[in-house]
């Protein structure tokens, strides 16, 4: 999937270069296909998949987790509101979870836009996750930052009640 994405980026990049003129195409070689997208600081926002690093926004003790698996056996990856299995990569020294532990998490903010039932789309600034246990109850006691109300449909009501702002 990453390879298909890279080729898509290169196709977009080459048409962009064609519009800009031939003088730029000499500067940007084929190996810089992905960096040409940063011309307008645009990124191809994708799913949360294996090896995606997410920020932890509760006070469970972890700081960064790396996704191991997107649950519900999705082919492409997890999106906003899905649960993932993750490995803790970075943690606070005295927290409930330690580095190297395998945990479950609920994606509360995703950079990829998610369609709402009224037809509009929402996107957030970063990828963030709230650690939960196998039953779906959050491990921490506080949640930071905005959360979407897509969580209500997925029955993560406890997270919504802890949130400081519901987008």
């Amino acid at each position: 999937m990453a390879a298909a994405l890279a080729s898509k980026c290169s196709r977009v990049g080459r048409s962009f270069l064609g519009g800009l003129g031939n003088n730029l195409s000499g500067l940007l070689s084929a190996s810089h296909e992905l960096t040409c997208n940063t011309f307008l600081s645009q990124q191809q926002r994708t799913f949360i998949q294996m090896r995606t690093i997410l920020k932890v926004v509760d006070n469970s003790g972890a700081k960064k987790v790396m996704c191991i698996q997107a649950l519900k056996a999705r082919k492409k990856g997890a999106r906003l509101g899905d649960t993932i299995v993750a490995s803790v990569k970075e943690a606070h020294p005295n927290g409930k979870v330690k580095k190297g532990k395998v945990v479950y998490g609920v994606v509360v903010r995703a950079a990829m836009q998610r369609g709402r039932c009224d037809g509009s789309e929402v996107k957030f600034d970063d990828n963030a996750v709230v650690l939960v246990d196998k039953q779906g109850q959050p491990i921490g006691t506080r949640v930071f930052g905005p959360v979407p109300h897509e969580l209500r449909k997925k029955k993560h009501v406890k997270i919504l009640s802890l949130a400081e702002h519901i987008a």
């Binding site: 307008l40 600081s41 836009q113 509009s120 789309e121 929402v122 996107k123 957030f124 987008a167």
Partner: protein, 162 residues
């Protein structure tokens, strides 16, 4: 259902259109189309982009204050459903729109109209108001203008050289 305003161009975003971006400080930016969204990502300031309402209002090209804008203000209190009220509101919306459009047209006309005063009047007024830019104010005061007799001293050396 709520009609929002695009953060960049201030046009209405109807349901089913546009993208909502939620920043981590919980500020929500709504965009009506990808043009506005892309400009936002480029970090452009809407007050400097000529086709946005923010620019036009700032430069006085469009109306800024009008009583018709009061009707559109956001109210957070939900109203109990009343069929008569709904009917009257719908009629009023149409009328208010017409009034607002007419007033905007008049504002535009006034802006485009040429100044009818003859040019000499305009120039005379400008001279009176802004003469201090050309001459120092003290130079015009009559009591300071004194006539002084200056003795002209003929230099003896020049007369000799000739």
């Amino acid at each position: 259902m709520r009609l929002e305003k695009c953060w960049f161009c201030s046009s209405t975003v109807y349901p089913g259109h546009g993208i909502q971006f939620v920043r981590n400080d919980a500020k929500i930016f709504r965009f009506c189309r990808s043009k506005c969204h892309k400009n936002f990502k480029m970090k452009r300031n809407p007050r400097k982009v000529k086709w946005t309402k923010a620019y036009r209002r700032l430069r006085g090209k469009d109306m800024t204050q009008d009583s018709t804008f009061e009707f559109e203000r956001k109210r957070n209190r939900p109203e109990r459903y009343d069929r008569n009220l709904t009917e009257n509101t719908l009629k009023a919306i149409k009328k208010i729109d017409k009034v607002r459009v007419d007033r905007e047209a008049k504002h535009h006309q006034k802006r485009m109209k040429k100044d009818k005063r003859p040019k000499i009047n305009i120039d005379a007024q400008e001279l009176k108001q802004s003469l201090n830019m050309v001459k120092a104010p003290d130079a015009l005061r009559q009591d300071l203008l004194k006539k002084v007799q200056v003795q002209k001293q003929v230099d003896q050396t020049y007369a000799m050289e000739e």
